[in-house]
């Protein structure tokens, strides 16, 4: 031992080739390879395999059968309803998100932290409990709900309930995305525009909006994906009326329970494609406009 190490040239960091040189702040190549393998394999089994199954089952009886199943009245009405619900709840949420972020970041007032906590609340409430809360408030047995039903404007087991539920589960998305970005950008640009005599609306349109457009798009993308895919809250408030209040996820459940495997998985594949598209656009935004998005992502 002593002799062999004595013979070694001084500049060789370790004995022989068994331990090739590496920086002290890195793991050995073997450890690194094992960690990468565990990560890739784990993700493949946990996440990619379920995605693959959706498409495999949809195409199990050929592409023709899959496409034909999409033309069924149930599938068509579900697609229409889901598009309608997202078409209402996403813009509503975008307006709310911008208004909330503007109020929270451009002004100082008491209770701001509490307001942010309230906006975040829907993330910590189970969608089923959210649906339950809406049923208790707007159901036919409740004070408000009973009156609204008498006026011929039912909320629960109808479109307004589905929209309310979708808005609830996506409530924090846009605001959460905008607030950190707008805090980082500060107020000086808007203040400069105001001193130059621009109106409030003009300041928002020509100064604020260009600064937050990518972050807004990011929030809207996530909001849309969740709104189209929401199941638990919608299952509770919609009443699952076939052809009327059955959104795409609800129809997937119905078809699956009726052993219409191809139909269920084809509709699921449509939603999965939407999810993949959302991911692709989101990733593109993160690459191209990372500086204009908030740094820490949670959703």
């Amino acid at each position: 031992m002593f002799d062999s190490s004595f013979q070694e040239p001084l500049l060789t960091p370790t004995e022989g080739n068994r331990h090739p040189w590496r920086p002290a702040t890195e793991e050995s190549p073997l450890v690194r390879r094992i960690l990468i393998a565990v990560a890739v394999l784990g993700l493949a089994v946990l996440v990619v395999a379920p995605l693959g199954v959706v498409f495999a089952e949809a195409l199990a009886k050929g592409a023709g059968a899959a496409i034909a199943s999409l033309a069924s009245p149930d599938a068509l009405s579900a697609i229409k309803l889901t598009l309608l619900v997202a078409g209402i709840s996403v813009p509503v949420n975008a307006v709310f998100g911008v208004a909330a972020a503007w109020t929270i970041t451009k002004f100082d007032f008491r209770g701001k932290a509490f307001l942010i906590t309230l906006i975040d609340l829907p993330f910590s409430i189970s969608p089923v409990v959210a649906g339950l809360a809406l049923v208790l408030l707007f159901g036919a047995n409740s004070l408000i709900g009973g009156w609204l039903v008498a006026q011929g404007f039912p909320i629960i087991f109808a479109l307004p309930g589905i929209v309310l539920a979708s808005v609830f589960v996506t409530f924090p998305f846009v605001a959460r995305e905008l607030i950190p970005v707008m805090i980082e950008q500060g107020r000086t640009e808007e203040e400069a525009a105001l001193t130059l005599g621009a109106s409030g609306w003009r300041v928002f349109r020509t100064v604020t909006l260009p600064n937050i457009k990518w972050a807004l798009l990011y929030g809207v993308l996530l909001c849309n994906a969740r709104a189209m895919g929401e199941f638990g809250a919608v299952a509770v408030v919609s009443g699952k009326i076939r052809g009327q209040t059955a959104t795409m996820p609800i129809t997937i459940e119905m078809m699956y329970n009726e052993y219409l495997s191809v139909a269920a998985f084809t509709l699921a594949a449509v939603l999965a494609l939407l999810g993949l598209l959302t991911l692709a656009l989101k990733t593109l935004l993160e690459w191209r406009h990372a500086d204009q998005l908030s740094a820490i992502r949670r959703h």
């Binding site: 702040t25 946990l46 996440v47 208004a99 189970s126 969608p127 809406l134 408030l137 409030g200 199941f231």
Partner: protein, 279 residues
């Protein structure tokens, strides 16, 4: 920053409009419905709520939901941190694709995930048949529920920990190495403590998500009372029986347990931040 003029009356317009929209929406979407739930609970009374919750079926569902959610979040804590480390520190082919795929559970609707996981892990499914030959049943057992809960909570820890790893200064690791620490020791005593608060946040988010999860679980759970029935399903069942009091009681019990857990996690977080010594 240097010249911050304290303006008494803000020149910025739109406070009334912005605050008006914010409060109106907040009231309609969050405050009134949650208030209705609390009011229902109050009118039902503590004894009423206790009477509903204190039945074997409800206890079994609550215990199942919180126990499996805890284990799923624990799995995600370990695997999510590993994933974040690999994505932040190593360069390998396909890294960016894998980085994007981490978010797939957020983008895939829960009902889609539910039927896909069930098909995959059913006794005749691709993975299910392998487990079946080993004598293990996954779908329609607690294992199936656990897999669904792991799936929906998977991205949280990775997404909270990854930015923190990016921010760790290599100098700290170098200092540790020059002081004679091995890589494993540096990992354990320098890097992991720095990641702990973010990892705990991810754990809490994953846990909260799993406890409330419904769509992906009900397909794979089998939904046997006392065995594989989760708490959110019990709420749906009560609602379908028009037992609004019972549904509200279980909903409130879930909220109470969730918030207590999140409070405890927050306290642990404050404690761990203080121990490490940065804000």
């Amino acid at each position: 920053m240097a010249l911050s003029l304290r303006i008494q009356k803000s020149p910025m317009p739109g406070f009334r409009l912005g605050m008006g929209i914010t409060l109106a929406m907040l009231s309609l979407i969050v405050i009134l419905p949650v208030g209705a739930l609390l009011a229902k609970g109050a009118s039902y009374g503590l004894s009423g709520i206790w009477g509903t919750v204190n039945t074997p079926r409800v206890w079994a569902a609550l215990y199942l939901s919180f126990r499996l959610s805890f284990f799923a979040a624990l799995f995600n804590l370990v695997f999510g941190t590993l994933l974040a480390w690999v994505l932040a520190r190593y360069e390998f082919p396909g890294r960016r694709l894998i980085d994007a795929l981490v978010d797939l559970p957020f983008a895939l609707p829960t009902a889609v995930a539910g039927i896909a996981l069930t098909t995959l892990y059913a006794p005749n499914g691709v993975f299910g048949s392998v487990f079946k030959s080993l004598g293990i049943k996954i779908a329609y057992t607690e294992w199936g529920i656990l897999i669904a809960l792991i799936f929906v909570g998977l991205p949280f820890v990775t997404r909270t920990v990854q930015p923190v790893i990016d921010e760790i200064e290599r100098e700290v690791e170098e200092a540790s190495a020059t002081l004679g620490a091995g890589r494993l020791y540096t990992m354990r005593r320098v890097i992991l403590p720095a990641l702990a608060p973010a990892a705990l946040t991810g754990f809490a988010l994953s846990l909260a998500r799993a406890v409330g999860e419904y769509g992906s679980v009900i397909f794979i759970a089998g939904n046997l009372p006392l065995k594989t029935e989760i708490a959110p399903l019990l709420i749906v069942i009560k609602l379908e029986e028009f037992d609004y009091n019972g549904a509200a009681a279980i909903g409130l019990a879930m909220l109470l347990i969730s918030f207590t857990m999140l409070l405890v996690i927050n306290l642990i977080q404050i404690w761990s931040r203080r121990r490490i010594g940065h804000v």
